[in-house]
């Protein structure tokens, strides 16, 4: 039985290879050492990914980090400058887009303006020379799937933004795609509609069990919808890949920690096998990355909701002292900003667990050992 290599990223962001003997994990999409340059512009740099079948994957990253380019490489609309793309172990790097059978929803939707809704949806069937009645039947089914029944004879210009979105999805699903690719399809919708569509898209994906890749720069969207998140950074590389929770709890580096949610990023130095000194205070750490020798410069990432604030000055490990510089009460949560000798620490708590401090008070921030994630600076 062939051995499957699955690349995972450890905390230091280095790829680490684990070996599985699972036949099922063979199927999926593999990107090997993918580079893409446009002249001197590096759009995508050294990407290695294995995306298992049936998953909902999000490519997440700031603008210009190469998400669209990576998606286009997968779709076959762009040729990689280096590297290979494999689908179920078959090399598809040089197979043109129209032979890949990957459904794609474009950022601009790219609906055909000269065709009706029904004709747009069944364009792929017309290309495959399916008969007219069969096409109309299939158009009805697909429009039912995306809840647009009855609009089959409308023109594209007569649709609302949300309806166009659905038509684009139905059109891409008409080919029964091996992969369903979406490039920020929801970014043009207003917040309420976007949330509805997110939910619907997720349910649709689960119903059809189609491997889906969604490109987004909205971390909330990525975290709430996906099985796997691929975080890309401004250096056009993949920084981390993992489940949303894993990425949130264990960011691979300072970029991920900062980009996903908010995080207290505290500069410090390694002072022992399980100790880091931050701003004169000693932090005990439950899990240290490998190869940390004393005096290594590190960054400690702690999520605001993990930080407890106690009134007054309390001595002990994992405690930083400072004054409350600001209290922000947004109703559903309370944020307390502490100034600990120049270090800014934010703590977030529920209104119930609100610590009894006010602006200007002396207070102690407790950073639990298990919540401190140490990252190389």
């Amino acid at each position: 039985m062939p051995q499957i290599l699955i690349r995972r990223f450890n905390r230091a962001g280095k790829s680490q290879i684990s070996i599985f003997n699972d036949k099922n994990s063979m199927s999926g999409l593999t990107l090997e050492n993918i580079d893409k340059n446009f002249g001197s512009v590096v759009a995508v740099c050294d990407v290695n990914l294995l995306l298992p079948d049936g998953q909902f994957v999000c490519f997440l990253g700031p603008s210009g980090c190469g998400k669209t380019t990576l998606l286009r490489l997968i779709a076959g609309l762009e040729k990689p400058s280096r590297g290979r793309i494999l689908l179920d172990e078959e090399d598809i790097t040089h197979i043109p887009a129209h032979k890949r059978n990957f459904g794609m929803v474009f950022q601009s939707l790219a609906l055909f303006p000269h065709l009706t809704v029904g004709e747009n949806v069944t364009y792929s069937l017309r290309v495959r020379k399916t008969g007219k009645t069969a096409r109309r039947q299939r158009a009805r089914e697909l429009l039912d799937l995306v809840k647009l029944s009855g609009l089959i004879d409308r023109h594209i210009s007569q649709l609302s933004g949300g309806q166009r979105q659905r038509v684009a999805m139905a059109r891409a699903l008409a080919i029964e795609p091996r992969l369903f690719l979406l490039d920020e399809p929801l970014s043009a919708l207003d917040a309420k509609l976007r949330e509805d569509m997110q939910l619907e898209l997720r349910m649709l994906q689960q119903r059809l069990a189609v491997t889906t890749i969604l490109v987004t720069h909205d971390q909330r969207e990525a975290m709430t919808m996906s099985d796997l998140v691929v975080v890309m950074g401004p250096d056009n590389r993949v920084h981390q890949m993992g489940s949303p929770l894993e990425i949130y709890r264990n960011p691979a580096d300072t970029f991920v920690a900062d980009f996903i949610g908010t995080s207290n990023l505290l500069d410090g130095t390694c002072s022992g096998p399980r100790d880091v000194t931050v701003g004169g205070a000693r932090l005990e750490i439950s899990e240290m990355p490998d190869g940390m020798i004393p005096d290594t410069k590190v960054t400690v990432s702690v999520r605001p909701e993990e930080v407890h604030v106690l009134p007054g000055t309390e001595e002990g490990a994992n405690r930083l002292h400072g004054s409350v510089s600001f209290v922000r009460d947004v109703g559903s949560s309370v944020e307390i900003y502490l100034d600990c000798n120049g270090l800014q620490i934010v703590s977030q708590s529920t209104p119930k667990g609100r610590p009894a401090v006010r602006q200007g008070d002396q207070a102690t921030a407790v950073l639990p050992a298990s919540a401190c994630v140490v990252l190389r600076s």
Binding site: H98, K99, A110, F112, H114, E119, I175
Partner: protein
């Protein structure tokens, strides 16, 4: 109400200038011509004002009918040739890098700076037997012996298309460069080969632009006057030649005016029909 009035007045004022120009340079000459077409011809002289349909009755000749049909045929054929070559050509230009696009467009526009006379005589030379391109082909071993490609119908068609081609590209360039590049890409992800994509999506979504370009070249070529005489045989002469002939050599102004008016009427009907077909197709697609 009161507040709106000056606005309307000012809006009208800005329109007076174009209206004036249109009146002086288009409507008045056209009106004169329309009037003359009903005047009475004085043999040996000019014409005297009157109202008679004789001139229109005199149009009913085999020569006029044949020439009219031929003119429309040449215009339609050159429009078809120009658009069917110009459309893919412009599409490829718009897919190029910005710099290359500019080079191509400048090159095409430079053709426009040549006068019709120069183009006509240049092609008559290049297509001739004695000094033409066929000599070059003979020299290259591609042909047995030099031949005359001129005068003749193909030479005429070639010359007209050469002149009309840059205009075709100019008319097609804006809509093609505005075409969302994701449209053909979407078609490809849906399984359409590049050629199929071109015909179903690029041509399909730009049908209006294609009809507009066709009508433009058609109208542009209808007035061809010099090229038929330079590159064609007498039987390839168009209606413009016939009209000029009647007006100047036969000093029959009323007849030539009637010819022109009738010609224009037929052309307008054809253009309207073409546009209607273009529109209907867009609505009736299932």
């Amino acid at each position: 109400m009161i507040g709106e009035k000056p606005k309307g007045l000012r809006a009208h004022l800005t329109l007076t200038y174009p209206a004036l120009m249109l009146g002086i340079f288009f409507i008045v000459p056209f009106g004169l011509m329309a009037a003359v077409s009903f005047f009475h011809r004085q043999p040996g002289g000019f014409y005297i004002p009157g109202f008679e349909l004789t001139n229109y009755k005199n149009l009913y000749t085999a020569l006029f009918g044949r020439t009219l049909v031929f003119s429309l045929f040449v215009a339609g054929l050159s429009a078809a040739v120009c658009v069917s070559i110009g459309f893919p050509f412009t599409y490829f230009i718009t897919r190029m890098k910005r710099r290359a696009q500019v080079v191509w467009l400048v090159l095409l526009m430079s053709v426009l700076s040549l006068s019709e006379v120069i183009v006509g005589f240049a092609w008559s030379l290049l297509l001739s037997r004695t000094a033409g391109l066929s000599n070059l082909f003979v020299w290259l071993g591609l042909m047995e012996r030099a031949v005359a490609w001129y005068p003749g119908f193909m030479a005429l068609l070639f010359g007209i298309c050469y002149l009309a081609f840059p205009y075709t590209v100019l008319v097609l360039y804006p809509p093609l460069s505005r075409l969302d590049p994701a449209l053909p890409e979407a078609a490809q992800t849906l399984g359409a080969s590049p050629i199929r994509t071109f015909f179903t999506v690029v041509v399909g979504s730009l049908r209006n632009a294609i009809v507009a370009a066709f009508v433009m070249v058609f109208v542009f070529t209808l007035g061809a006057y010099l090229l038929p005489q330079i590159l064609g045989r007498p039987r390839h002469w168009t209606l413009s030649v016939l009209i000029t002939d009647a007006a100047i050599y036969q000093t029959n102004m009323p007849l030539s005016a009637a010819m022109a008016i009738f010609f224009m009427f037929v052309s307008l009907v054809l253009v309207a029909l073409t546009m209607m077909i273009g529109k209907r197709k867009r609505i009736k697609t299932v």
